[in-house]
Structure formats: C-alpha cells, structure tokens
Amino acid sequence: MSIDENTAARVAKLARIKVEPEALPALAQEFNGILGFIEQLSEVDVEGVEPMTSVTPQRLKRREDVVTDGDQQDKVLKNAPDAREGFFAVPKVVE
C-alpha cells in the first residue's frame, strides 16, 4: 500500500492539520516509510485471535448514575483563548 500526495492531503484534512501543498510529497514519503515498517504485521497469523480491548483483565467499573461534578463555569472557561458571556467563542460556524 503506497500513499500518494492525494492520500496524504486527505489524511491531513481528516486530522484537521493544515499542510502546505509543497510539503505533501515529503509527508507522503514519510508515511510510506512508517507504513512499510508497520506492514510486517501482515506476516503474523492472527486467525482466531481476539483484538485486545483491555490490557488488564479487570472489568470497567460502574457507578451510580448521579451528578458528581459541575458548577465551575469560571474554571472551565479560564484557559479558553476566547471566552465571552460564559461561553467559548469560535468563528462563525453556519452561514
């Protein structure tokens, strides 16, 4: 599986990272190097093997479905690059 510039551009878009067009060839080449290394996994016989979901055999804990936290709007907004009137502010999302 070889990655071309179009695929690299598509991945960058999916990852929401701006990549300048002139940087795409080098990026595609790096991806190919890494994916070539990962390709070794196809040698392994994984027939009947379950994909690991949890490295320790413990079951995830359940808790009462109750509110445990909240009422800290000021703290939540404290680090926001742009917070106004108790909200996170972002550029216009819909026209």
Partner: protein, 496 residues
C-alpha cells in the same frame, strides 16, 4: 551537611528523621543546583515559591508527626506532562502554551499529600512522543554525561529526558516520569539512573496529559532501587477518576527489598538478541545474567516469539490512540489558537491552530493514527495490531505460567547518542530505541531499568527487568539484587 542535592530519597529521609537537616535546606540546595544548571535545560518551569512553602510545611509536619510519610520534605521534579494546579503544564508543546490547569493530577496530589516538595516542571518530548527529548518546544534537554573528554552534547533520552537529566545531575532527589513505550526506562538507562514503569493501572492517569491511554503509565525516576520503591508507593493509588485504575492495595515496596533472588527463575528471552546489537550491550547483558546467577537465581532460556512485531504494533496502536486523544487540541477550550485571516471559518481555525501548535513528530503521529483508523484501513491496521498485541501479551503469560519470576533484558540498544545525530535518520530509526521496552507497555507489565555498567567511552548502560503483573514488590527486590551486584556508582563530571 554539604551537597544535600546529591542525596537520594532514602538518605534524605533518614537525615530528616535524624534531625541532620531540614526540608528547607534540602530544597534550597536543589534550587541552587537548578539555577546553576541552565545548560542542561532540564527544569523548564521553576516553582521556587511553591517549593519553599511546601518545605516549610513539611518541616512543621516532620516535627509534629512521627508517622509522617517517607516522601515528606523531599524535593522532586515533576514531568511537564502532569497537570499541576496553577503551574504551567504544557506537555512540551506549543499548543498548550499559557495553559494553567485548574486542577492537580492524582499522582502529583498523592506526592504532595505525602509531603513531597515540587521544585518545578521538567522538559520532555512533545506529548511524550520521542526518544531523545528533541521534539520539545522548550528545546533539547542535555545529558549531564559526556563521552570521555568529548564535549559533544548527548541526548538524555526521551520522552522523560528532563527528568532523567535532572536526577542524574543531582538537581533534585528524584522525579516523576511517564512511560508509553519506554519513556521512563530508556532515559533512565541513558543517564545512569533507575526508572520503573509499574503495571498498567497502578498509577492513576487522571490529570496526566494523554498520549496513548491504553499504554501510558507514570512512574518514578530515582538514584537507586530503594528510592524507586519509596516513591512508587507514594505515587500509586486506586482512583475512581481513572476508569482503568486498579482497585488493589498498594504494598510497602521498600519493605519487600530483600534482594534475595535465590531460587528465583529469571528468564532470558532469545528474541531480544537482536541482529546488529552492539557488542557492549551483549557483554552488559551477559554480565547481568552472571550476576543474577551468582546471587543464586536460576537462569532459564525462554522464548517470546512475537517480540519482533511489538514495535510495528505499537506504531499503529499508539498513534491511533494519540490521534483520538489529541483531537481535543482545537483552539477552543485551552491553549494556542491561530490568528485567523479574514473569511476563515471554524475548519480553518482548527487546521491552522493544529499546524502551528503541534511540532512535526506529533503531526506525523496524529496523521498516521488518523490513517490507520480511517474507513477501509481500520481492520487491516488497527484491528490487526490489536490482535498482535494479544499475542505479545500471551507470550509473557506463557512464560510466567512456566514459573518464570522475572525477565532480564537490555534496556536500550545503545548508549546515549549525540543530539542532532539522528536528525537525518528515517523516523523508524528513532523508533528502534524502544525495541526492548515497548513489549512491556503492550502487555501492561511492570518493567524497571537499572544502571549496571558503562561503555568504552564511559557512558552509562542499563539492564531491564520485567515482572509479573502487580508484582512490583518482587520485581523491585530482584532489581535491588542486580543493583547490589553491579555496584554502579559512577556519576557524570560536572561541566555545566
């Protein structure tokens, strides 16, 4: 007492108890050492006011409470990956510039509850992605060790490079690290100190900036195995805020340090004898095997057949989890937001923010992760890697079922290399640094790096011991035997 910063945790604890020094004196000695060590670029945010305040409180507590915890009054450094309330916590990244957490990570809170003193935050690879501390927004941390009289600056390893450099250079008594693929053990080996990654679930991940959640674990980086036992105990706890935190009692690790390995079965995995492994690493390993044998252990040849596939599986799973975890850095809730051009919408804001905020290695891994999780490739890459991970874990379960108590391997494939030496190498070359450590994260096991020798140029080298899950106490005791037999006492000559 002089040179208080050179003490280990156990020595300093005993000196405090004996009234030979105070936490304030210990802390001042470390702060002075830090001020004189700018060239190492280990401490990237210093917190002297917090440190002196905590030291004053610790001294009062030591006076009034005979049962004060072992860590009480001991000055340490905290890796920048841990969120510390009101103190910059950037994970070595530009994207978290200016971020001041409103909360404290569970691990740092546990340490503070035990009376530990925070000297500041330590340099690291950006988002813990790297093996040389060269991906940090703060610039490189520098290894206090040098090759003989050569003044070429060497890497302290990564990602916990600042922690390793700071402990090795006696800027603090110990430091916290985190380990996703070897980020405690590799830098510990490169700087001649001890570092343990506990079993997955021992230390809470709450408040530790996430890289790959199924692999990340915190652990101590210290001047001795005893110190590692003391500090690990203080760091571990069950924490309801981390859904994978283990609800198990935390043993007294120090009390378990008998160093008696008589009759213990120590496995030597043949697959770790890598092609092209430097002779010095071969010799170090052979020496370690001989030391454990002399101490009365049974040396058993074992096989971990899927070892070869650990790194490729890791480079699917870790980037996949990173691409998901790092989606939160979008310029909305915290950290950096790019300056927008007229007409830019929210998508441009995300894309520009992430392009400016993430360095090249983080961008690369996020995109690789995005690719392996994307429609059409999820099964071929991500699911296959998770199946291989199951097989890697089973390799370990099989040898433990045969009665193996712990496994002895090299910690790294080489000694510390020069900063910039790998700049032109393919990213995969850098990834090979973790070849001996990454299996342990994939299997969720405890692993410890112990310094046992030096190479021809006088650089430290370490061996790794891998233990059974939840049996850190036994692992530490075996490591104590190895440490005692190796008698590694070398320190870097001060040039900084």
């Amino acid at each position: 007492m002089s040179d208080l910063n050179k003490l280990g945790l156990a020595e300093a604890r005993d000196a405090l108890r004996a009234g030979e020094t105070t936490s304030k004196e210990l802390t001042e000695a470390c702060l002075t050492a830090i001020d004189g060590a700018g060239a190492l670029n280990a401490f990237v945010h210093r917190t002297p006011e917090i440190a002196m305040e905590q030291a004053t409180q610790a001294d009062a507590r030591l006076k009034s409470d005979k049962e004060a915890p072992a860590m009480c009054g001991l000055p340490i450094g905290i890796k920048d990956l841990f969120c510390t309330k009101g103190v910059p916590s950037q994970a070595g990244s530009r994207i978290l510039e200016g971020f001041l957490p409103e909360y404290e990570s569970t691990v740092s809170q546990n340490l503070f509850d035990a009376g530990a003193v925070m000297l500041g935050k330590l340099n690291m690879d950006e988002f813990a992605m790297g093996s040389s501390n060269e991906t940090s927004v703060y610039g490189n941390a520098v290894n206090p060790w040098r090759r003989g009289n050569d003044d070429v600056a060497l890497t302290p390893g990564g990602s916990s490079g600042g922690s390793a450099a700071a402990v090795a250079a006696d800027l603090c008594l110990a430091a916290t690290g985190t380990d996703t693929g070897g980020s405690i053990r590799q830098p510990a080996a490169f700087t001649g100190i001890t570092g343990i990654k506990p079993t997955y679930g021992r230390c809470s991940r709450w408040g530790v900036v996430a890289f790959a959640s199924s692999l990340d674990q915190a652990g101590p980086m210290t001047k001795s195995v005893r110190d590692a036992a003391i500090m690990l105990e203080a760091m571990c706890s069950y924490d309801a805020k981390d859904s994978t935190s283990a609800e198990l009692p935390v043993p007294n690790f120090e009390a378990a340090l008998t160093g008696d390995v008589r009759g213990k079965k120590i496995g030597i995995p043949k697959e770790y004898r890598m092609e092209g492994m430097p002779e010095e690493i071969e010799t170090l390993w052979a020496d370690g095997i001989a030391m454990m044998k002399d101490a009365g252990a049974d040396i058993v040849d074992i096989s971990l057949p899927h070892t070869k596939y650990a790194l490729p599986a890791y480079y699917v799973i870790a980037p996949a989890e990173a691409s998901s975890n790092l989606a939160r850095y979008d310029g909305v809730r915290y950290g950096h937001r790019a300056r927008l051009d007229h007409g830019d919408g929210i998508t441009e804001m995300y894309e520009k923010t992430r392009a400016e905020g993430f360095g090249p290695e983080v961008q690369r891994r996020v995109m690789i992760g995005t690719y392996v999780l994307s429609a059409g490739f999820y099964d071929a890459y991500y699911n296959r890697a998770r199946k291989v991970r199951s097989l890697i874990k089973k390799d370990f379960e099989d040898v433990f079922a045969q009665g193996i108590d712990c496994i002895l391997t090299p910690a790294t494939p080489s000694a510390a290399f020069g900063l910039g030496e790998m700049a032109d190498a393919d990213p995969v070359q850098m990834y090979l640094n973790d070849v001996f450590t990454v299996t342990v994260n994939l299997a969720g096991l405890p692993g410890i790096a112990v310094p046992t020798g030096t190479d021809r140029q006088g650089l430290p080298l370490g061996l790794q011991l891998i233990g059974r899950p939840w049996e850190e106490a036994d692992l530490l005791s075996s490591a104590y035997a190895l440490e005692t037999a190796a008698g590694f006492v070398a320190k870097p000559d001060k040039w900084w």
